[in-house]
C-alpha cells in the first residue's frame, strides 16, 4: 500500500547558510564550513540514484502510448469486419478513444519529464564539487584578467569553496527534492489511480473489440462451422467407443465422417489461423496493458521510496523496477509484432 512520506522542513541548511552573509571573508568561511559540516547525516549523504525512476517513467510513457495506439488500431480493424450497421459507430468510438487517450499520453509524458527533472536535481546535487570547481576556475581567470591580487590565497580559498560547495549542493538538492517530491506525491498518486482505471477500461475495450472480430470470423463460416462441429462430435463418439468395438458399418461410417471433416479443412484451416491471429494479438495487447498497470503501481511506490531515501540519506533498491522496465519493453515489442496484417477472412466457398 502506498503511504505518504511526512513533509519535513528543508533540512538543516537554512537559506542564510547557503547564500552566506553579504560580504564574507576568510574568517567567515570557517564558521560557515562548520555549519555545513554539522549538517545531518541525511544532508551530507550522497543522494540516491534516481536514474532508474526516470528511465521507468520514460518507458511507462512509451508503453502507455503504445497500448492506446494499438487499442485504437484494433478498433479500426474491427470496424471493417463488424456488422454493416455498426461499422461507423465503432469507428467513431475509436476516434473518441484516440482523442481521450492523447490526454493520458500527454499527462504521462509530463510525469516522465518531471521524473527526469528530479534526476537532474539529484545529479546536480551529487556533482557539487565539479560545479564549484568550474566556478572557481572561472573566478580565478576573472581575477587574473582584471589584475585582482588573488595569489595563493585565492587558490586556497577556491579549494575550500569546492569542498564546502560539495556539501552545500547536496543540501540544496536534497531540500529541493524533499519539498518538490512531497508536493507532487498527491499528483503521483492521482495519475497512478487514473491510469490504473483507464488501463482497466482499455483492457475491456481490447477484449470486447477482439470478441467482435472473433464473432465476425465465426459468423462468416457459421453454417459450415456448425456442420463441421457436428461431424467432429460424431467422430469423437466413435473414438470414445474404440476401434476394436466398432462393427464394419460403424467403421465405414467413421471413414466417411473423417473424409467429410478433411473436406472442411480447406476453409477451416485459414479460419483457424485467423482466429489464432486475433487471439494472439488480443493476448499480447492485454499482457502489455497489465504490465503497464503493474508498472504504474511500482512507479508510484518508488516515488514514495525515493522521498524516504532522500529524507533519510539512504539508498534505494531499483533492481526490480529495472527488470520490470525491461519486461514492459519486451511486451510492447511483442504487441507490435503481433499486429502483422492478417489474410482476408476465409469463406466456406473459398
Amino acid at each position: 500500500m502506498i503511504h505518504f512520506a511526512s513533509r519535513r522542513p528543508l533540512g538543516n541548511v537554512s537559506r542564510t547558510t547557503i547564500n552566506g552573509p553579504s560580504r564574507p571573508s576568510i574568517a567567515a568561511v570557517g564558521p560557515r564550513l562548520a555549519t555545513i559540516l554539522l549538517c545531518s547525516a541525511a544532508g551530507c549523504a550522497v543522494l540516491p540514484d534516481v536514474k532508474p525512476f526516470a528511465e521507468a517513467s520514460a518507458q511507462l510513457a512509451v508503453s502507455i502510448r503504445s497500448v492506446g495506439k494499438t487499442a485504437v488500431l484494433q478498433m479500426r480493424q474491427v470496424s471493417d469486419v463488424a456488422l454493416p450497421q455498426n461499422r461507423k459507430l465503432i469507428s467513431d468510438e475509436a476516434g473518441k478513444l484516440e482523442a481521450a487517450w492523447s490526454a493520458h499520453v500527454a499527462a504521462m509524458n509530463a510525469a516522465a519529464d518531471y521524473a527526469r527533472s528530479v534526476q537532474e536535481v539529484a545529479e546536480a546535487g551529487n556533482a557539487g564539487a565539479e560545479s564549484a570547481r568550474r566556478v572557481a576556475d572561472a573566478a580565478l581567470k576573472l581575477a587574473e584578467t582584471a589584475n585582482f591580487a588573488v595569489g595563493q590565497t585565492g587558490a586556497i580559498v577556491g579549494e575550500a569553496f569546492v569542498a564546502i560547495y560539495k556539501q552545500v549542493a547536496r543540501a540544496r538538492a536534497r531540500a529541493r527534492l524533499i519539498e518538490c517530491m512531497n508536493d507532487l506525491q498527491p499528483a503521483v498518486e492521482s495519475i497512478m489511480n487514473l491510469m490504473a482505471q483507464s488501463l482497466e477500461d482499455l483492457r475491456a475495450i481490447v477484449l470486447a473489440a477482439a470478441q467482435i472480430h472473433l464473432n465476425a470470423l465465426t459468423r462468416g463460416v457459421g453454417d459450415e462451422l456448425g456442420f463441421r462441429l457436428s461431424l467432429v462430435a460424431a467422430r469423437d463418439r466413435f473414438y470414445e467407443k474404440g476401434w476394436d468395438n466398432l462393427d464394419d458399418a460403424q467403421k465405414a461410417e467413421l471413414a466417411t465422417v473423417e473424409k467429410a471433416i478433411a473436406e472442411t479443412d480447406k476453409w477451416h484451416a485459414p479460419y483457424d489461423e485467423q482466429m489464432r491471429g486475433v487471439m494472439a494479438e488480443r493476448n499480447a495487447t492485454v499482457e502489455a496493458i497489465s504490465a503497464a498497470a503493474q508498472g504504474m503501481r511500482d512507479w508510484g511506490a518508488m516515488h514514495v521510496e525515493l522521498i524516504d531515501a532522500i529524507e533519510q540519506g539512504s539508498g534505494i533498491d531499483t533492481g526490480e523496477l529495472l527488470i520490470l522496465i525491461e519486461e514492459i519493453g519486451d511486451l510492447v515489442e511483442r504487441m507490435r509484432e503481433s499486429r502483422a496484417p492478417l489474410p482476408p477472412a476465409p469463406t466456406p466457398n473459398g
Binding site: 537532474e120 591580487a149 475495450i205 467482435i212
Partner: protein, 177 residues
C-alpha cells in the same frame, strides 16, 4: 443453456429469446463477453428442422448476431466514455508535473551554479575587451586627448567591476582589489 437437444424453429426462437433477456441484464465485462460468445454459438448451432424453416432460422441468426455485437459495443462505449471523463483531470495533472519539472530544472541549473559561472565568464570577456581597447589607445601616438580620456575611464571601469566582485563574494571568495 445447452443447444444440444433443440429441434425446430420454435425451440430455437425460445432459446434466442432467453439469451436476449440474459444479454439485457449482463453488466460486467465477463457477463457480456460470455453472452456474446453464446449468441455467436447460437448462429453456428441453429438448424432448421426442414427447408420450410430456413428463412425463420436465418432471421433468428441475424438477430443473434446483432445482439451479440450490440452487447459488446455497449461495453466499448461505456469504457470509452469513462476514459474520456478523465481527460480534464489528467490535463490538470499534466500542468502540475510540467510546472514542477520546470522548477526542478531551474533549481538544478542554480545548484550547478550555471548562472554564476556564466556571469563570471561574461565579465571576464568584457574585461579582456576593455584591456585590449586600452592597450590599442596607449600604443597609438596620434591618440587625441579625448581618446586618452577614454583610457582613463576604462581604468575606472576595470576597478569597479562590481558585478564580478559581487559574484565572487557570493562564493565566499575574498578578492583584494
Amino acid at each position: 443453456m445447452s443447444f444440444d437437444n433443440l429441434k425446430g424453429a420454435d425451440q430455437w426462437a425460445d432459446a434466442l429469446k432467453a439469451l436476449i433477456e440474459e444479454s439485457q441484464t449482463a453488466e460486467t465485462l465477463e457477463e457480456r463477453l460470455d453472452i456474446s460468445k453464446r449468441l455467436t454459438e447460437f448462429i453456428t448451432r441453429s438448424r432448421p428442422a426442414d427447408e420450410t424453416e430456413r428463412a425463420a432460422i436465418d432471421q433468428l441468426d441475424k438477430m443473434a448476431g446483432a445482439v451479440s455485437e450490440a452487447v459488446l459495443i455497449a461495453e466499448i462505449q461505456q469504457r470509452v466514455q469513462a476514459i474520456t471523463a478523465r481527460a480534464n483531470e489528467l490535463a490538470a495533472l499534466q500542468k502540475t508535473f510540467a510546472s514542477a519539472a520546470s522548477k526542478n530544472l531551474a533549481a538544478a541549473k542554480s545548484i550547478r551554479l550555471e548562472n554564476l559561472r556564466a556571469a563570471i565568464t561574461a565579465a571576464t570577456g568584457i574585461i579582456e575587451s576593455l584591456n585590449k581597447v586600452k592597450g590599442d589607445l596607449a600604443a597609438d601616438p596620434a591618440a587625441s586627448e579625448e581618446q586618452k580620456g577614454i583610457s582613463t575611464k576604462i581604468d575606472r571601469a576595470l576597478k569597479s567591476v562590481q558585478d564580478a566582485r559581487n559574484a565572487l563574494e557570493l562564493l565566499g571568495v575574498p578578492i583584494s582589489l
